[in-house]
């Protein structure tokens, strides 16, 4: 069955630094992969989607890479701010008949301290 691993449960960094979160998946090949942010008591909020034929995608201070050979995605937040503190979820999608399904990791809780 599909397995999604995010590098660590918690990541603490200083304001202004770059946060790098890792997502590894096994046992399947997703057609695309999404990243979400989740704050306590709220539903996940969509950040970025990257497709299997894309290597990198950027949006403002966010950058996502997707290496289908390594079965890994990296999520970067540059010039991090305390407001970036949240749990970040990696969600590779299925394909074919399961294309509409996302398989979520447990998330990495990011804390940015001033």
């Amino acid at each position: 069955s599909q397995k999604i691993e995010q590098n660590s449960e918690a990541l603490n960094i200083q304001e202004g630094k770059t946060a790098t979160l890792t997502c590894n998946y096994t046992n399947y090949s997703p057609a695309y992969l999404q990243w979400y942010r989740q704050d306590p008591g709220r539903g996940p909020v969509f950040l970025l989607l990257i497709r299997e034929n894309e290597k990198e995608k950027r949006k403002e201070r966010l950058k996502v890479t997707f290496d289908t050979t390594l079965k890994q995605s990296l999520f970067h937040i540059t010039a991090s701010q305390p407001a970036d503190s949240a749990t970040y979820l990696c969600a590779p999608a299925g394909r074919g008949s399961t294309l509409g399904r996302l398989y979520f990791g447990r998330g990495t809780q990011l804390t940015v301290w001033p």
Binding site: G43, P44, L48, G100, R106
Partner: protein, 115 residues
Amino acid sequence: GAGVSQTPSNKVTEKGKYVELRCDPISGHTALYWYRQSLGQGPEFLIYFQGTGAADDSGLPNDRFFAVRPEGSVSTLKIQRTERGDSAVYLCASSSRQGGDYGYTFGSGTRLTVV
């Protein structure tokens, strides 16, 4: 509406009772998803609707769980004979189309507690 609306926000029920959870997706979104999230875990897929039909219901854990979307908009997740293990946050999401660069818009969820 402006976002995905889920009601109730909290539901406490006794073991063995029947519950219904409602989801109002963003107007015009054809795809609707149900997930559930236990404490400290990522959301777990339950079912996906494209229009009125269930395109993928293989995530429903057993036959006590059932979901409908009769008119292609509002969806109801129904749980019969609830068990304490059903306690979780049930999340609904919608998207304008599958596979687009839009991602899914999630509601804030219904926190179900079975006592």
